[in-house]
């Protein structure tokens, strides 16, 4: 997951200081060296690192820290504030033109993920803003780039405008906007070919497209794994075509994503969206504040809540809660819960968003095997209705049948039954706690390692 290493490193460093009653100048120096190391390993641009370290260092040795009662915490706060500041405060959204169509131009290096991102954004705009998008295939260079956009268009049931590979991208863009005007599309996405920022001829072509269609937004698509060159790329594209926002892709990888930190502070352009997976709905608005918290291992609770809200049917959640209380939770409910969790996205992503999850031993590298989930589902689906609501009736011959039916083994069936049993016990405890019985026993793992 993004920033994992950075979060860990900063936490380790800060841990040393956190407990201290007094912070000496030497402590700060030591810590700043670690911060520098962590940021460089996270691919944060060297210039940005230097500025950051200098700023934080100055503030940390300042009087407010030395004299405060809890200097360690004070330093933590400074690092966090500055980090959030570096990523640019509030998250920004899309600007739609008052006079449709809104023209959005997608630019970037080869392989950054422009075409996929075009599809994802168009899908988001249709879903969230209820606008009608048209996709224009202006990458006439890479083999089959047009087919790629057309396939995506088919998957999304969205029209794609293309004129083949023999027409100049400038004309394609211009005609796409014309068509959008005539046929009343709200938004036109122009998917341009990937190019090196130093390729003068191709950068000239981008300027021509820009001149021809006067886009409302120019999105620079940047691979989150990009190294030191990210800031330079962003700077050059911005100079040439006036970038209005950045979309960070492949953030579902385990890159620390220093590119995000660098681009904003070097170009002043906000990161607006983040690509988080291979599916066409795997895109999110970028939240700098949350990202800063995530860097420091404070957990991305806000994102988790939003994910839960978009994925979970509230009515069903209430019913479930009722069942928890009444202890009438069955395998059918379990299955339903599984479905809902699956809707929220890859499980390991969710896990990482939990506060303190990064600190639990063994969990920092936790990888949830989605295949395992499918097997669990198969086991449950191989049970009879009666078995699902009364699992205690499952004897060895029933187990054998279930294992055969689901293509698993008896051991796996046993394991699931045991897990289910434990889950029920846990629920019992939890609902008891909710009624205020043994509240002090309630202790979520990792919660104590949050910033005290």
């Amino acid at each position: 997951m993004a920033f994992e290493g950075l979060a860990e490193r900063l936490q380790n460093t800060l841990q040393k200081i956190k407990g201290k009653g007094k912070v000496t100048e030497a402590d700060v120096k030591e810590m700043m060296r670690e911060v520098r190391f962590a940021l460089i390993e996270a691919d944060v641009n060297l210039k940005v690192v230097k500025e950051f370290v200098k700023k934080v260092g100055e503030r940390a040795v300042g009087a407010d820290v030395m004299e405060s009662l809890t200097p360690g915490q004070q330093v933590v706060k400074i690092v966090r504030d500055e980090l959030a500041d570096l990523m640019g405060g509030e998250s920004e959204t899309l600007t739609f033109s008052k006079k449709p169509p809104t023209v959005i131009m997608m630019v970037g290096l080869q392989g950054a993920g422009k075409t996929t991102t075009t599809g994802k954004l168009a899908n988001l705009i249709r879903k969230k803003y209820n606008r009608k998008p048209l996709l224009a295939a202006a990458d006439v260079y890479r083999p089959a780039a047009i087919q790629q956009l057309e396939t995506i268009g088919r998957q999304l049931d969205m029209p794609v405008f293309s004129l083949g590979t023999d027409v100049s991208p400038v004309d394609i863009a211009r005609q796409a906007v014309e068509k959008a005007k005539e046929e009343h599309y709200d938004v036109v996405f122009i998917d341009t070919a990937g190019r090196l920022q130093i390729d003068e001829a191709l950068m000239g072509e981008l300027r021509d497209i820009h001149e021809a269609v006067k886009p409302d937004e120019v999105f620079l698509v940047v691979d989150a794994m990009t190294g030191q060159v990210a800031a330079n790329v962003a700077e050059t594209f911005d100079k040439q075509v006036g970038v209005t926002g950045v979309v960070l892709t492949k953030l579902d990888g385990d890159t620390r994503g220093g590119a995000a930190l660098s681009i904003r502070s070097v170009t002043g352009k906000p990161v607006k969206f983040a690509g988080m997976g291979e599916k066409l709905d795997a895109i999110e608005a970028f939240h700098p504040e949350r990202m800063a918290s995530r860097i420091l291992g404070m957990g991305d609770v806000m994102s988790l809540i939003e994910k839960a809200q978009s994925g979970v049917d509230e009515q069903k959640a209430k019913e479930l809660e009722q069942k928890f209380r009444e202890q009438s939770f069955t395998f059918d409910d379990f299955l339903e819960q599984l479905e809902q969790v699956k809707k929220m996205g890859p499980l390991d992503e969710l896990l990482k968003m939990l506060p303190g999850a990064g600190k639990i031993k063994g969990l920092e590298n936790a990888k949830v095997d989605e295949g395992q989930m499918a097997r669990v589902e198969a086991v449950i689906k191989s049970m009879t209705t009666k078995e699902k609501s009364n699992p205690e009736i499952i004897n060895s011959s029933r187990k054998k049948r279930i294992a055969r039916g689901s293509g698993t083994s008896i051991q796996e069936v046993n394991r699931l039954l045991k897990q289910f049993d434990e889950m029920k016990k846990m629920m019992k405890q939890m609902s008891a706690m909710q009624q205020g019985k043994s509240r002090k026993k309630m202790k979520l793992p990792g919660l104590d390692s949050l910033f005290k």
């Binding site: 990009t226 220093g258 291979e278």
Partner: protein, 334 residues
Amino acid sequence: MSFFKKLKDKISGKPDETTEKYKEGLEKTRTSFTSKVNDLIARYRKVDEDFFEELEDLLLQADVGFETVMDLMDDLRFEVQRKNVKDTEGIQSVISQKLVDIYRGGEEADSSLNIQEDGLTVLLFVGVNGVGKTTTIGKLARRFIEEGKTVMLAAGDTFRAGAIDQLQVWGDRVGAEVIRQAEGSDPAAVMYDAIRAAKNRKADILICDTAGRLQNKVNLMNELQKVHRVISREIPGAPHETLLALDATTGQNALIQAETFKEVTDVTGIVLTKLDGTAKGGIVLAIRNKLGIPVKLVGLGEGMDDLQPFDAERYVYGLFAEGLEQEDAEEGGE
């Protein structure tokens, strides 16, 4: 004699045309990296701590990575002391020698591909999304075909929209038959088919494309393992090369990529793509330093023949060409 001189002598035995490719492809790298090193050398007359610190920054900006830079700096400090280098003039050759040393990783790294004398050679390409696997395959196929070999391509990226068509376009362009199934089919099954077909048609080389995948996706990595397994089962000893395509603009994550892909598919070599940008590809230093995987091919441009076998000497020559020629001139060489 200076290291540059030796480097030049070594290279002079090799075809000029390829050396030129390196020089051209690395032009931007040179102007951004080497000229900065030269600047630095011009500014500092003496080799002191400040000099080392600025040099360290330059290497970090080339994505070499913190740990490898630290190793390198220690080596340099030691070397400078040993050779008693006082002024900055002699330092450039010490730096480039160290760079070549790391690339070689102690031994003479073999960057040639493991091609079978008789029978089928299977090359498997792996990597994350968008690094240029399919394009590299197209260019590599052309190289082999020019050498008079029969090449077949296996369209194993059944996931990304348009990927099969992309490989097909390359196949048509260079004259290689493409074995394909429908989008969404099992890539391992595509490989099985492709190997059967390649055997039947007595092809010399089968190059297998796979879908890009982020190395932290367990299921996708398992799928890749299966692809690898199916290939080895059909032909013992295959794939003869598993090549990890790395984007030269990638930062420190490339190290994790190399590590994880190596675990899953036993990567035998790296293809460094997109080296013609301003990226320095310094990460290959870190990979060589820490994991010992050799770079076998480099992509130096968008042209058909810009894919070249990796050559550490030429690479460093490409980086320092100007300095080398200058030094040469000063010594009155040529």
